[in-house]
Structures are given as C-alpha cells and as structure tokens.
Symmetry: C2
Subunit: 344 residues, 2 copies
C-alpha cells in the first residue's frame, strides 16, 4: 500500500512480546495526517531504521536510556524525512532531514530533534553508515576499544550495521580483525568484501575452538554486540589488558528469564581481575555532543574514498516493518536494515 | 616455638585444597638456615603478611598474575625482614627491609625484590597501611573508581586491609561511604572509628534491602573485593556512569565449581550497557613503577596526620599461619592480618 497524502498509516505496539515478538504484537492503524501548530514541522517518512534496541523498548520495564513504548502508541525509530509542511522558521517544505518519526508516514516535530541533511545521493545512508549505527561503531571502538596496530579485534554480528563498520575501522587502524557472523555467506562477505582477516560462523558446532584457532595471539579488543554463547567463547581468549566495549547483547533480548545455570558471573569476575580487563557499556545518545562532528568528517572521508564499504538490507513498505524487525532479532538481516517507506 | 638461629622453619603446601583450605593442606618443615652466595642476602623474617590472593596461588591453575605454588614448596608471601647476613654491596646485617621471604624464618634474596625500610616505629605497617594492601586501595579507588565529592562509594570487606583504606580515602575525597562487613562489631568500628557514613552486616537476612536504603542516591563507585551475593545486591543499585574497580572476589575463591544457576551474566551485561558502567580489573603489581612513590608520600602524610586509621589483626607465631589464612578466607580477620614471626 503506497503512502497517501491524507491518511497516516502507523504501526503501534499492540501487545508486549513474550520472547521473540510476533506479528500480533503490532497493529497497523490509519489516522488523519496531523496539522503542524506554530513552531512545528510536519514530517513525511521516506526511510525507517530498524535496530535491535527497539526490542528492549517493547518491554514494560525499559532500559534506562530510553522510555518504554506505551501500548497503542507508534513504535519509535530513526527516520529520513521530507518536510511536508512547516510553521518553523528553520525548516521549509521539501527539506531533507534526519528525524525520529517512528513507524508511521507522518509525524510532527518541534524541530529540536531534526538534523538537516541537505541533498544526498542515498539518503538512507544517514540511518546506517553515516548515521547512528556507524557512529556507535566509531565511538565504541575508538574511545573504549582503543585498538592499536597489531591488536586482534573480534567483532560479532560482523556484517551488521554496527559490526561491519567496527571491523573496517579496526582494519584502518592496523588491527587484525576476526568477525563472527551467522552463516557462510555472511562470513565470506566479511572476508572478501569487508577485508576482515577471518570470519567464523557462530552456528558451527566447532565455533569456540575455531575462534581460538583464528586468534592465535588472543583477543585484545572484543566489541560486544551479542552476548550469550558468543561471549562465552570469547571470554577465555581475552588477553591481559583487553578492552570490551559493551554496545549490545542481542542474544539475551528475547529471553523471558535468566538462562539456566551454572552462574557464569564468577568466571567473568575472575577474568576481569586476572587479566586486568576493562569492560565498559556505552549508549550512543551520550556522545553526539562531543564526537559526532569528528565521526561525520572522518567517516565521510572513508566512505567517499572507498575505504569503508556499506551494505544496506532494504525492506520495502511500512507494513513489512514488523516482520523485518523480527527477522533482525533472529539475525536474518545482511547489512544495515532499512525500511523504504516512500521514495522522494 | 621461637625462632632459632640455626634451624629454618618453613610451612610448605602439602596438598592442593578442595574448597576452603584445611590444616592438612600445609606442612611445617625444618631445614638448615641457608648460606648467602656472592651477591645474596640472608633474610630473617619478622612479620608475614596474610592476604586473600594466597588462596588462588594454592590451586594448580594459578591466576595469570602469579605462579602457582608447587607442592612441597614454601607458601609465598610479603614479609618484613632483618638482614641476617649479606654478600650484597647494598645491604648490611641489621638492615630492615620489605621482602618476599614467604612462610619461613629465613630466605635468600638477590636484593632486587627488597625495599629498604629504614627504621620504623611499627615495621609491620609496611605490610598493611603503608604497603601493598593500602597501595591496592589507593590505586584502585583513585585511578579506576575516581570518586567525586558527593558520590556514594560502597566498599565490601570494609574493615579489612584494603577496604578500610578505600573507605577512608573516599571520605577524604568528599564521598559518602557505605561499608559492608561481616558482623555488628566490624560495622560499628567502620562507622565509629573509620568514619564511614554507614556500614551493613552482610549476614543480615535483610542485607540487600538495607543496602538499598543506605544508598538512597544509588552507588557511583563499588570497590569489588568480595563478589558473590554482595555483588548481586550491589548491581541493581549502580548508577549511570558507575565505576567498579575489581580488586578481588573472595566469595568465589573456595568454590570448586561455578555456582548453580540461573546464569546471572546477562543481568550484568544489561546493567553495563544500560547504565554505561565501567568495570575494570587490576593487579597491583602492575602499578609499583608509576604510582608507588605518590602513594607512599600521600599515605604517609595521612597516617601521620591521623586522617587514616590503621588496624592490625595480629597473629603470633609462624606455626599459626595456616589457621590464620583459613580464618582470613572466612572473613574472621578484623583489620590487616599479620603474623608476627619474631620481634627485633
């Protein structure tokens, strides 16, 4: 169903998921297109970003860094928008902006959360390789991971929106990069196209021993996106002085309760101590003020020079967003997953 | 049994403990007093430090930071010694030195691990408040914990050799300090003598809720000495941006296997991420080069000015060392535990 000028399609949270979300946890509604008040902008959605953090906002008790989605309200999400109408002095109809319209065709904004994009050849990149996920990779790897030439950097979800950029920046910094991905095709892409030194399939029954073989000098930086069994395999390989930026742990997001035992926490505590490991969580929202300009300049140069390759996993149509998010949580994306809601 | 001029009593590791060590894991032997060769020093032990890390060295697979004790070899340990004989140009008989003679009356050294102490009113302080444990507190709290005025700092094993100094330095830096200790008498001492703002008995069935009540603004720095149930109670109270120096986790040292489930590791991963927590293990041996002089100067001033109170938990007689270490691992020390092997 194409975008309308008069109807606003929106996908709301219909029920709180138990474990992996199902299509029934979402509901498509149609409302009138809202009218901007004084100082407001009416946004029309072109592209919608899908990201793992969205799963966490679907739970009643949301993470500290963002509020839980109320039942019956539209799913939130970063978007690329055209300004459809404006009563705001800084925005004009037709402007291309980065916004937070969420899972809907139209939304109002007071302008404070909007970033003018100018014109871009591929505006959806503002949601991936030139936007939040790549910025997450940049800050987490460089500020917390601090890779040095010759270090071994391991990154899970290696062909995803964040992991693919982590690995490529680590290569630019002179590190040896070992990816972890789900499936042989993703692993081949990580090595042949992204230039990783090795990439291992986490579904392989011999995954843990293959990871050890691929990291003969141990692991100096582990960029944590995944948690679960992947982290368990990484932990014994961490070197003295290793750094572990904690960006996500998608393996746990759909767990309704803690996994059964044994309790592995003492094992982590022992490793942190004996190996002087630094583990540090970060939330990218904290870093826009002081790091975003540096990221945009440097990443723009790398992309323009062909030193960083970006892959978009395109989904067409807003009504396909629920299934696309469910697939993302199952690792069925291949690159940065973006819903193309409308062109123009 | 007093120290002899001709016999060297030494306590060796007789068996690898299963769980908490027992007296049968140690054996007292008598050998001849060794004779120093060219460039060597003969040390006579006055005071022997007992520290939780010793338990870890008794296992076959030792931590990365120090070698496992071979069966039949003397237990290692920091000591205050008199030089009994010297064929080393820099040491003369009668010199008071800090050494690593271990659990025995006499030992040889090539001088490289010796620190001249000059004369001290209370030489055993070199093993506690002016030595390794307090240095551990200083580096872990200031370099990793980085307490700011008004922060809430929580420290477990609050009246122990490390914890008592952590809390007092944190007070000097303007933090609110909440201790955790085993027993009402230790808690009273932490508040009344050490000046902590509160101290909670970890044996209290309501411990976790009392900790929450004692930290109404959450926890900004948790100095980890203990692990286990204490860490479980701390974790939900950690604030955004909290720092967790990991210095030890004594609750786990005598576990023969991982505790039963559920596996709490995902809970830690979620907290690290959502609250942007930094957890960092450290081993004090790494820091002598660049931090020890600052520690010695500053700590010496604090002790001389009465701003830091030190309590020694004195045990008399080398033969009591095994029971004293076992008690230390059970939390039955009250202050820095030192074996007074001989006076002089």
């Amino acid at each position: 169903m194409p975008q309308s000028d008069t109807l606003n399609r929106r996908i709301v949270l219909a029920a709180r998921p138990r474990g992996l979300p199902t299509p029934g946890d979402f509901r498509l509604e149609e409302t009138a297109v809202p009218t901007p008040g004084e100082g407001q902008v009416l946004l029309r959605t072109l592209h919608l970003s899908l990201d793992p953090y969205m799963r966490q906002l679907m739970d009643e008790i949301a993470p500290v860094y963002a509020a839980s989605v109320p039942l019956g309200e539209p799913m939130p999400g970063g978007t690329v928008n055209r300004v459809a109408a404006s009563k705001h002095p800084q925005f004009r109809p037709g402007d291309l902006v980065l916004g937070n319209a969420g899972w809907q065709d139209y939304a109002l904004s007071d302008g404070q959360d909007l970033l003018p994009l100018g014109e871009m050849a591929q505006p959806s990149l503002a949601l991936g390789g030139l936007g939040m996920p790549a910025f997450t990779a940049y800050v987490g790897l460089l500020d917390i991971g601090q890779p040095k030439p010759g270090d071994t950097v391991v990154v899970a979800a290696a062909t995803g929106a964040v992991g693919s950029v982590v690995g490529q920046i680590a290569k630019l910094k002179g590190a040896r990069v070992v990816g972890i991905a789900g499936g042989a095709d993703k692993c081949r892409y990580a090595v042949e196209t992204l230039g990783f030194d090795a990439c291992l399939d986490r579904h392989d029954p011999e995954f843990a021993s293959r990871l050890a073989t691929a990291c003969p000098k141990g692991i100096d930086v582990y960029f944590e996106n995944v948690g679960g069994a992947v982290f368990d395999a990484v932990l014994p390989l961490l070197n003295i002085g290793a750094r572990v930026p904690v960006c996500g742990h998608i393996a746990d997001y759909n767990n309704e309760k803690l996994p059964s035992g044994p309790n592995r926490l003492p094992l982590l505590m022992a490793a942190l101590l004996q190996k002087r490991i630094r583990m540090q969580g970060f939330v990218i929202l904290d870093h826009y003020g002081d790091r975003f300009d540096a990221f945009r300049r440097e990443m723009g140069e790398w992309v323009d020079a062909g030193r960083v390759t970006l892959r978009e996993d395109r989904v067409d149509g807003l009504d396909n967003a629920p299934a696309a998010l469910i697939g993302l949580l199952e690792g069925r994306n291949f690159g940065k997953r973006v819903v193309h809601v409308a062109e123009g």
